[in-house]
Every structure is written in structure tokens, then in C-alpha cells.
């Protein structure tokens, strides 16, 4: 059928021409360029300029101070130490769990995946807050249980330590490793493992010599991801580290904005964070790009499940215990705090109250305003983000004009900017005239849109990749033009995928703290910031109420995505 192919080829050429005839190319490139200039180049440019500009002109003073002043150096050292251990432990926990879920006969795998997912969407600052109630050395619930059970005087756990900080960060970082490694394990066939078995290797040896090396790139990639995730966190170190006198880079940057502000130092301190992120992401890309094993790439072959035998049950309970640290225990104590007059006392009838709900939703102006702002921003960002991500993904996927694939760069570039660094840049760029966004929710909108663009793009790209281009072509042959084909064929097929994109961006927005903390004003407070502020007001019950609200909305959206698109945030994120 040479004619048909010919016709199709011509059609594609023509469709590109039509596309060009409307002259979309220019506006899209201009749009992408504006996006890059205003959301990234300008803020980052301001950071570099501020870090290099002193009272007497250009200088490296700020950098010298950052790398010589004891307090700042200590924050730097703390951060590297913390992130390193978070990376290592998250890899251990995440990959073991991934192996158990993908390659063994562990029971209730679906439930376990759901719990990993729940850990993933739990805002880390909320987890940290819950853990202060669980493992504060004296009043913490677990420590009190421990003392009454053993009669001991000391504390079993002290969450206000570097170890405590690492522990909580691991709980909310390991899902990143899990998803990456689980994806690989699902692709590794059992052929080599079988060979090793036949040659006499035991299960453990097979795992150590075959499975582990095959998964090594993913493990290293997962390490980098967890490392970067913990590097960018603000809420966890602020809640657990500051009380113990521990600063990290993010909390230090935040403190440098206190009056009298030191923007030069904040900027100079942001640069290492930015460079480290860029470097590690480039490294990660290289490592994962080298994945040339035929054993991993192929879809064929067989994946045998390892029988856990008599260990099946104990391991299952161990896994449950682990996930209870990130899910059941924190959620339980939040629920208790939300319903109790005094969170530390037993939940008896007298101690029960709905007062915190009443206060949060009906009485306190700040929480009401923040809830409104959060949902407004969630909807705005998710809608704008989905539209832009879908447009870019569609264009790159269909190669609508020359160099279209480079557009992806614009959508993925924000990955290299940690939230607080983005906020520092946006603050310098838009918190004074002539470009004044500070004081409104729009500066948060800009921050969220930039931050969520990579996630949105990845989701949208998956969506369009799954839609066969031939379907569009068929409708074009039947006489539809590009827009009709888009409307009648592609859009309905992409709908569920784009709804998923929307939901994931929304979830990302409502849990954001590290950028919001520098960009909010009384008029533009969001829930995460109010939670942070209320800690200082001792309003533990109200924090719990707001935290539960965030969690419920997130779970509802994830379920919605599951029903509508059958898609999992964890698996498709990377």
C-alpha cells in the first residue's frame, strides 16, 4: 500500500504546514522564552547578582563569609550529613520494600503500595509535627508508653536530634526510591537469576550478585533523588532541628531574611544548593541513561516471584510496622490531637471536643483565609499548569515544528531549582517595584507553577505517548482538520490522563511550604504556612485539623485519579 503511506506522509507534512500557516511557532517559542525569562532566568539572575553585589560594587565577600563564618559552615555541614544519611537509609528501606512488593509473594501488596503512596503524599512538615507529639523526649506519647511499661526514667526516643531529623526525612523520602527501584525490578527478567540458581547460588547470593547489581543504577538514582529531596526540605529541619540548635541550609536562608535582612548572604548560600542540585541531577541522568542491559530493557521473559516461606508473615508484619511509622502513628496522633482538648491526655468523653474544627473553619480569620487561598492557588496552578504542560507535551510528542523536542527543556528545567532557592529569586525579582507581585497570591502562583511544571509535563507526556498518532491520522484522512481531530479524537483519549495531571499538580501545590514560607504576606497566607505559624501559638489541635484537611483532600484526589485514569502518582512521576 505505498499510496496510503504516501498520503499519510503528505498529510503529516501538510498538517505541519497548516500549523505553520497559522503561525503558531512564533507565539509558542515566545511564550516558552517568556516562561524561561520571568520564572527562571530573572529570579536566578537576581540571586547571582545579589550574591556578588556589595556596598562597594562587585565583590566575592558574601561567598567568603558563607564559607568561613562558623554558623553558616555548620549549617552547610549539617545539611550534607543529614542528606547523605537520608539518601543511604531511604535507599535501604525503599529498595527492600520495592523488592518485596515486586518480586516476592508478600501478602497484601496492593495495600502496601497504597501505604507507600500515603507516605508519599503526606507533607513532610506534617509528619515532623506529628512526630514531635509522638517522640518528644518527655511528653511524647511513645516515650510515656515506654516509661509506664518499663518503669524507666529516660526517654526511648528523642526526635529533636539530628538522628530524629534524619529518621523523619527517611520516612517521607523513601517512596521516591521505592518508585524508581520498583519500576526497574518489574523490568528485570528472572533469566539471570535462574542461571545463578542453577549454578548453585542460594536466594541471598542470587539477590546480592545478580539482582542487586542489575538494580544498582536505580539505587544510585534513588539515592540522589532522596538526597536532593531532603536537601530542599524546610519544614522538617525547622520543626525538629531548630529546637535543638541545628540549622540547615534552608532554615539558615530563611533566618537570613529576618530583620536586618542579609540578602547577599541568603543569595550566596542559595548558590551551592542550586549547583549541588544541578550537578546531582545531571549525574543521575547519566547513571540512569547508561542502563543498557538487555535484561532490564526488554518486556519479554519471565519474572518469578521469590517465595518467602516461613518468613512471609514476619516480614509482612515488619513492613507494616515500618509503614506505621510514616502513616498509622502520625495520622493517629493527629486525629487524636484534632479531637482532644489536651492532646497528651487520654481521649475520654470529657477530653473530647469539636472546638478545634470550629475554630479552624469558622472562628479564626487566618485559617479561613488560608484555606481559601490554598484552594484558589491549587485550582489556578493545576489548571494553568495542565494546559501549559499538555500543550508542550503535545507539541513535543507530535513534533509539530522544527526543534519542538527542545521545548521539553523549558518544562523540565525547574527541576534543578530547590523550592526555597526559587523563592529567594522570586522575592528579589518581584518584591519591589517595578515588577511587584509580592503581597498578592500571584507570586505564590508563579512559584507553584514553576515548581510543578516538571511533574505536570511528565504526566502529560505519558498521556500523549500512550495515544497512537495513527488515530489522529485516521481522522485526518477522513477529512477532519487538525483541530477537529484534536477535539474529537485526541482530547477524549487524553482526558483521563490530563485529569490525573491536574490532580497531581493540585496535590503538589497544597503541600508546598519551602517556597511559600518566604513569599507569603498576611493577605496571601496558605494552609502550610498557617500550620507552621500556629505551632508558635501552641494551637496543636488546630494544626491537626488543618493537617487532616490537607491529607483528606490529597487522598480524595488520588482515589479520583485511580478511578478515572487508573494511574499511580508514584510510578509515573519519574
Amino acid at each position: 500500500m505505498p499510496h496510503a503511506t504516501d498520503a499519510l506522509g503528505q498529510l503529516r507534512v501538510r498538517s505541519r504546514m497548516i500549523f505553520r500557516a497559522v503561525d503558531w511557532t512564533l507565539p509558542i517559542w515566545i511564550g516558552a522564552a517568556l516562561f524561561l525569562v520571568f520564572l527562571m532566568i530573572l529570579p536566578l539572575g537576581w540571586i547571582f547578582a545579589t550574591s556578588l553585589w556589595g556596598e562597594q560594587g562587585w565583590t566575592l565577600d558574601a561567598y567568603v563569609r558563607v564559607f568561613t563564618e562558623a554558623a553558616l559552615l555548620k549549617a552547610l555541614r549539617n545539611t550534607i550529613l543529614i542528606s547523605f544519611w537520608v539518601g543511604v537509609l531511604a535507599v535501604v528501606v525503599g529498595s527492600l520494600l520495592a523488592w518485596l512488593v515486586t518480586r516476592t509473594d508478600l501478602p497484601a501488596k496492593k495495600a502496601i503500595r497504597a501505604l507507600v503512596m500515603a507516605s508519599f503524599v503526606t507533607p513532610p512538615f506534617l509528619g515532623a509535627f506529628a512526630w514531635t507529639l509522638l517522640a518528644g523526649p518527655n511528653a511524647g506519647l511513645l516515650n510515656r508508653l515506654y516509661r509506664s511499661a518499663t518503669g524507666a526514667e529516660g526517654a526511648l526516643l528523642n526526635i529533636f536530634t539530628m538522628e530524629g531529623l534524619i529518621f523523619v526525612m527517611v520516612l517521607y523520602s523513601f517512596p521516591y526510591v521505592f518508585s524508581m527501584v520498583a519500576n526497574i525490578f518489574e523490568l528485570i527478567t528472572s533469566d539471570l537469576e535462574d542461571a545463578a540458581n542453577i549454578l548453585g547460588a542460594g536466594r541471598l547470593r542470587t539477590m546480592l550478585t545478580i539482582t542487586l547489581p542489575l538494580a544498582a543504577p536505580a539505587l544510585l538514582g534513588g539515592f540522589i533523588l532522596a538526597f536532593l529531596h531532603s536537601l530542599s526540605l524546610f519544614g522538617v529541619p525547622a520543626i525538629l532541628g531548630l529546637p535543638a540548635g541545628l540549622h540547615t541550609i534552608t532554615t539558615q536562608i530563611w533566618a537570613l531574611f529576618q530583620y536586618p535582612p542579609r540578602p547577599d548572604l541568603a543569595a550566596a548560600f542559595s548558590v551551592p544548593l542550586l549547583l549541588a542540585t544541578m550537578l546531582l541531577l545531571a549525574l543521575q541522568r547519566r547513571i540512569l541513561g547508561q542502563r543498557g542491559y538487555s535484561t532490564v530493557g526488554g518486556k519479554g521473559g519471565e519474572r518469578r516471584t521469590v517465595r518467602l516461606g516461613i518468613f512471609r508473615r514476619p516480614i509482612f508484619f515488619l513492613v507494616l510496622a515500618l509503614l506505621s511509622l510514616s502513616v498509622f502513628l502520625p495520622y493517629g496522633i493527629l486525629l487524636k490531637a484534632a479531637l482532644a482538648r489536651a492532646w497528651a491526655l487520654p481521649l475520654t468523653w470529657d477530653n473530647l471536643t469539636l472546638g478545634h474544627f470550629r475554630f479552624a473553619f469558622f472562628q479564626y480569620g487566618d485559617t479561613q483565609g488560608a484555606i481559601l487561598n490554598t484552594f484558589k492557588l491549587g485550582i489556578l496552578t493545576a489548571t494553568a499548569g495542565t494546559l501549559i504542560a499538555a500543550l508542550i507535551a503535545y507539541i513535543t510528542n507530535r513534533q509539530l515544528f522544527r526543534g519542538a523536542r527542545y521545548l521539553a527543556f523549558f518544562a523540565l528545567a525547574p527541576l534543578v531549582i530547590p523550592g526555597i532557592v526559587l523563592a529567594v529569586g522570586l522575592f528579589f525579582a518581584y518584591a519591589r517595584p517595578p515588577l511587584l507581585l509580592y503581597g498578592t497570591i500571584w507570586i505564590l502562583f508563579v512559584a507553584y507553577l514553576t515548581k510543578e511544571m516538571p511533574v505536570g509535563f511528565a504526566q502529560a507526556e505519558t498521556t500523549f505517548k500512550a495515544i497512537q498518532i495513527e488515530l489522529e491520522d485516521a481522522s485526518r484522512i477522513m477529512g477532519a482538520n487538525r483541530f477537529m481531530a484534536l477535539k474529537d479524537v485526541t482530547a477524549p483519549l487524553a482526558r483521563s490522563g490530563l485529569i490525573a495531571t491536574w490532580c497531581f499538580i493540585f496535590i503538589g501545590v497544597i503541600r508546598e511550604l519551602s517556597a511559600s514560607i518566604l513569599l507569603f504576606t498576611p493577605k496571601s497566607k496558605v494552609v502550610s504556612v498557617v500550620i507552621f505559624d500556629l505551632k508558635e501559638e501552641g494551637q496543636i489541635g488546630v494544626i491537626a485539623v488543618l493537617g487532616i484537611l490537607l491529607l483528606l483532600v490529597s487522598f480524595f484526589l488520588i482515589l479520583a485519579v485511580h478511578w478515572v485514569a487508573g494511574r499511580d502518582l508514584l510510578v509515573s512521576r519519574e
Binding site: G245, Y259, G439, P522, K523, E537
Partner: protein, 338 residues
């Protein structure tokens, strides 16, 4: 006789003029509809004061934005730099902030009604700001964790190594009460005191009100080495396990000023609210309900609170506070780590 009637007439006219002025202010305030208050007064106290005002002047909403003094300052300065005009009234517990505001021309000259009888320490000599309350910074402990005869009695008792890991402090970067407290004790003992105190590895919280009182009342730490006495008192009255110690060597007295921002978007409502804050009714409410001390000469205090004149008070100078604020923060962080 004639002279007397002239005098009476004069007084009557003045009263009539004053009430006409007030009526005009109320009218203008209602047109503006609201007043935005950045305040470091604890959340329950500031909302109570706002509600008292809103009941009296219906149609004028008080928008309360409560955070620590340091954050109020940061917010005001950031908004000034951005050219945002949002705040009407600024209230913090760091009198140094108001010296700064005054020098930078960020606050309005305004003398609230009824401040004539206030002590001089509550007044700015140039009429830019007035102290609306005063707070003591004291020690507090949890009687379930520390027996009464063991409890620390003086600032120096807190240096004892037996309290290592058992004490909490609020933060001078956040709280104006604590910034003032640190200066008062540095004046008394020098920085060595804080260097030694830091060896007892304190749990650091931000706020000198609900947060530090909560940490001690919940038993998370046994002793608060500083904190706003009015909030300790309030929580104690609510039945929480707390005891307050007023050290004999001296108790820092923190006078917290209030001022109207220059270019306030709701100037009339701001003046009305400022006048209201200094009325006997409002000041008495702060004393009764919130356990605060005030400069108002006719205010009575709860019987179970010590009289100010029974205590040795440590006063600090606003301009000294302004000069040394940066140093206070820097050294505190140096000793305590964050």
C-alpha cells in the same frame, strides 16, 4: 461668679468639641470599615481586645495578624521595601523597633486619648508611640516535674548542671519580650550568663507565650528559663500545671509600644482603635482577663498577682535595645546554635 461661669462655659465647649471630634472620627472610621493590626500580643488576648472594640464600634472590623515581634518587624520592613501599604497599627514587645520606625519615618505622630496619667516610661517624648501594656519575663516550672523546694529561685540557679536537658527558652529573634529579657540580663550579668546557660542544652522554641508555656505545661520540658508571665498566669488559671518564679535579683519589665503606620490605609479607624486601646475599659480587660500589667493609673490587678512595686524590676532603654538588637540575636545564636 462671672469668672466661674466663663470657666464652666469653656469646659462645656471643649467637651462638646471633643465629642464632636470623636463622632467625626467614628464616622470616618466606619467609612473605612476596618483596621489592620500587626501585633505580637498573644493570639487569645489580641482577638479578645479586637472583639471588645468591634462590639463598641460596630461596622469596623479589626483584622488581627498575630506573630512574634521579630516577624512583625520583618513583615513591616519587607512591605515598606515593596511599597505595599497594608498595615494600620504596629504593636511589638521590642521597644527598639519603634526607635527604628521613628528614625526611618515609618510611623505617625499621634497621642492617644487618656495617656496623660501614664508613667513616663510608657511614652515616647516625641509622641510617636505609647506603651499599651507591660509584660514581665519570668521563670516558670512544671510542679509535676520539679518539686517546689527543688525549684530554681534565681536566674543563676538555672545554671546548675542538674537542669541539663530539662529547660526551654524562647527566642529573641522571634519574641520581643525575650530580646528585651536578654538585654536586661546582659546588663545585669554580662554575656557570660548566657554562655553558661547554653551549656545546659536548652530546648529552643520561638514564642514566649503559648509555645513555651505549652512546652512546660505538657511536661516536654520541666522549666522555662524565660517567657511572658501573663501567659504563664493565664494557663495556670486554666488549671495547667505551672508555677511562676519572680527572681529576687530582678524581673525584666517589657513595655510594649503601639504606633500608627505612616500612610496607614485606614487612618481614622486606626486612631479610633488606638484611642480605644488606652481606655480604662480596655486596659482593665488586659489586666483582668489576660493577666497583663499596664501603665493606666486606675487599673486594678488580680489579687493573686504580685504588685509591680513589690518586685525589683529590670528596665531597659528603647534606644539601647535598638542599638544592640543585632548583637543580641547574633550572640544568642552563637551560644544556643539556632
Amino acid at each position: 461668679m462671672k469668672r466661674l461661669s466663663v470657666l464652666v462655659l469653656f469646659i462645656l465647649v471643649r467637651a462638646a468639641l471633643a465629642s464632636a471630634q470623636e463622632a467625626a472620627l467614628v464616622e470616618a472610621g466606619k467609612r473605612e470599615g476596618k483596621v489592620v493590626w500587626y501585633t505580637s500580643l498573644a493570639l487569645p488576648s489580641s482577638t479578645a481586645l479586637a472583639h471588645l472594640f468591634m462590639n463598641r464600634y460596630q461596622g469596623i472590623e479589626v483584622e488581627v495578624h498575630r506573630t512574634g515581634s521579630g516577624r512583625v518587624l520583618q513583615r513591616v520592613m519587607q512591605e515598606v521595601a515593596a511599597g505595599i501599604r497594608n498595615v494600620d497599627i504596629i504593636h511589638t514587645s521590642d521597644a527598639g523597633h519603634f526607635v527604628l520606625f521613628k528614625n526611618k519615618g515609618l510611623v505617625m505622630r499621634y497621642t492617644p486619648k487618656g495617656v496623660e496619667g501614664f508613667p513616663a516610661s510608657f511614652k515616647d517624648k516625641d509622641d510617636f508611640y505609647y506603651g499599651m501594656r507591660s509584660t514581665l519575663s519570668t521563670i516558670a516550672y512544671n510542679p509535676r516535674a520539679v518539686a517546689e523546694r527543688e525549684a530554681p529561685r534565681s536566674w543563676k540557679d538555672l545554671l546548675d548542671a542538674k537542669w541539663r536537658g530539662k529547660m526551654a527558652s524562647a527566642h529573641p529573634s522571634y519574641s520581643g519580650v525575650i530580646a528585651t529579657h536578654v538585654l536586661a540580663l546582659v546588663n545585669l550579668y554580662g554575656w557570660d550568663y548566657f554562655r553558661d546557660l547554653a551549656k545546659n542544652r536548652l530546648h529552643l522554641v520561638q514564642s514566649a507565650t503559648a509555645e513555651i508555656a505549652g512546652v512546660v505545661a505538657s511536661g516536654e520540658r520541666a522549666i522555662a528559663v524565660n517567657g511572658a508571665e501573663y501567659f504563664f498566669y493565664k494557663m495556670l488559671k486554666e488549671g495547667n500545671p505551672l508555677k511562676i518564679i519572680y527572681p529576687k535579683e530582678g524581673v525584666p519589665l517589657v513595655v510594649s509600644p503601639t504606633a500608627i503606620a505612616k500612610g496607614a490605609p485606614h487612618p481614622s479607624a486606626a486612631k479610633l482603635f488606638t484611642d480605644f486601646i488606652f481606655t480604662r475599659e480596655a486596659q482593665q480587660m488586659l489586666a483582668d482577663r489576660e493577666g497583663l500589667y499596664t501603665g493606666h493609673p486606675e487599673v486594678n490587678y488580680p489579687q493573686d498577682k504580685p504588685k509591680l512595686k513589690e518586685l525589683r524590676l529590670l528596665s531597659t532603654d528603647a534606644s539601647q535595645l535598638e542599638e544592640r538588637n543585632a548583637e543580641i540575636r547574633k550572640r544568642f545564636v552563637e551560644f544556643f546554635g539556632a
